[in-house]
């Protein structure tokens, strides 16, 4: 059950480029969550900015319960994230969590997850990678970013023991080009059989990756991001167009409660 928690900033570390990892502590045990679920963070007591901001939850809950800490990996993209980066301990931050539907990949026994991250999209895939590792599975991470300066954003995921292949737009590290091209090359080389894709990143990157999945016949889940006011289903502002199998018309589903993780094959990009 989601609830509003008055969290305390315990650290807000610079991770490289304009990326930060904020750790928030709770005075009470937090409800458990799934990889891919998100929280709505308030950015202060004032009314400007007014709305909370959605962020993927970066860490996994403690296996035995009694989780008292939640992390968010973020990149400064606008005014809200810039304000977030200025928070220092012991600032208090209200956070509504856990929200949305996380990753529950459709897969057969033995299927391997291929995690495809575009930039800070790695934030929602990291806990999925951690959960896979915890269960003794071997996920593959394809991490695409602009330049080598951002590669540090995937370091914590790689450090879990996740096989990681990197692409950069400028070729300063790993393969040169988009991560969707890297995905295509990897699937061509290793085959699609036994692979389930989980993708998170900018919309054009997810669209391109979903296209690769369709072409190569792979199951693909995407974690979407839309501007949203509430995060719990009442504003109906965060909709995404979908066309489920057999449907003629486009339906609008709410990213916050019907997602953020959705089946890529249904999305009208």
């Amino acid at each position: 059950m989601p609830a509003d928690f008055h969290l305390r900033v315990s650290s807000n570390e610079h991770v490289g480029a304009s990326w930060f990892l904020i750790t928030l502590a709770a005075d009470v045990d937090l409800p458990s969550w799934q990889p891919g679920q998100f929280l709505m963070l308030s950015l202060g007591e004032g009314q400007d900015p007014l709305l909370r901001r959605p962020f993927s939850i970066y860490n996994l809950p403690e296996p035995g319960g009694a989780t008292r800490s939640v992390q968010v990996l973020y990149k400064i993209l606008g005014r809200g994230t810039a304000l977030l980066s200025e928070l220092r301990p012991p600032a208090r931050v209200p956070a509504l969590l856990p929200l949305g539907l996380g990753f529950a990949p459709r897969r057969a026994r033995g299927d391997r997850l291929v995690l495809v991250a575009g930039g800070v999209g790695v934030a929602s895939l990291h806990p999925l990678a951690a959960e896979e590792i915890r269960r003794g599975r071997r996920p593959l991470l394809l991490f695409g970013c602009r330049t080598s300066a951002e590669v540090a954003g995937a370091e914590a995921t790689r450090a879990l023991g996740v096989e990681t292949l990197v692409s950069t737009d400028d070729g300063s590290e790993g393969a040169k080009g988009y991560v969707s091209d890297l995905l295509d090359a990897v699937l061509a080389e290793r085959g699609t059989e036994g692979s389930v894709l989980c993708v998170c990143g900018p919309t054009p990157m997810m669209k391109a990756s979903a296209g690769v999945a369709t072409r190569r016949g792979a199951v693909c889940h995407v974690s979407l991001e839309s501007p949203m006011a509430c995060g719990f289903g009442v504003c109906v502002g965060c909709v995404v167009g979908v066309r489920p199998e057999g449907a003629v018309e486009i339906l609008y589903r709410r990213t916050c409660v019907d997602g953020p993780v959705m089946d890529a094959s249904e999305i009208v990009w």
């Binding site: 059950m1 989601p2 609830a3 509003d4 308030s42 009314q47 400007d48 900015p49 007014l50 709305l51 909370r52 209200p94 509504l96 839309s226 501007p227 949203m228 006011a229 509430c230 719990f232 289903g233 009442v234 504003c235 109906v236 502002g237 965060c238 909709v239 995404v240 167009g241 018309e249 486009i250 339906l251 609008y252």
Partner: protein, 316 residues
Amino acid sequence: MSGAPDLSVALGPLRLRNPVLTASGTCGYGEELAPYFDVSKLGGIVTKSLSLLPRQGNAPQRLAETPSGMINSIGLQNVGIEAFLADKLPFLQGCGAAVLVSIFGATLDEFAELAARLDGRPGVSGLELNVSCPNTLRGGVEFGVDPESTRRVTAAVRERTKLPVIVKLSPNVTDLPLIARAALEGGADILSLVNTFFGMKIDVAARRPGLSSGSGGLSGPAIRPMAVHLTYRLARAVRAPIIGIGGIGTATDALEFILAGATAVQVGTATFVDPCASAKTVAGLADYCRAHGVGRISDLVGAAHRGVAPAGGSGG
């Protein structure tokens, strides 16, 4: 002062245990708020506006944040009256708060038909006519900006229901009291105001409007002073009970409207920011009454008018 303050209010035929309602379009069908607080603490819930048939709403992007506010263009996405009666009403019937169903029609007949379908339904305490939605091509604000259309749509609904009828007014008019009087002539029991103000945001990087539909409706604390002013003005112009709406998120905000002449209030955009904002407003009103020796909150309705000479509404 001894005992709990009396927060109950009467708006014509509609009695509420306290003056705080959740505004249409900000609380879904009520059940979405249930994980966060006991909704029976509310005076009432105003549902998302319902149409006869389900509506898909407008294409995204539907939201843009603005200084101390936001602009939306949802386009009344809703499940339609059939699914509402089958799937959503049962929760509301047992929720313990008054249930006010917001209805929206593209035509007069659609409004009348919706009223007829809801008349006599157990658990429905009243109807709010959305004649003021800025985000639809037909219906909505088309009715609410014209006095004769407002009178006719209200009369058409009045003819088909015994339920208390609230008409939700648009602020996007030159003469709000004129529209309000037309609604009352049509048989409205209560007036609620305001719906959102027309607003627009331009995405400078993309050099186009920030919302797919171009413009939308502005809500949030940014509109509160304008909404308080319209409430104050309307309270001087008509005798009908008023529900104040516009940027209310705390008891202090609610009190501004009550003192300006509103008998009840609706909490809207604030629920997006804090799902418990409406419940906290109820608690805050009780605290205020206790702290200031107010036995009955209804004694405060319109108190800001006392001792103020009648004057022109607009500044200058």
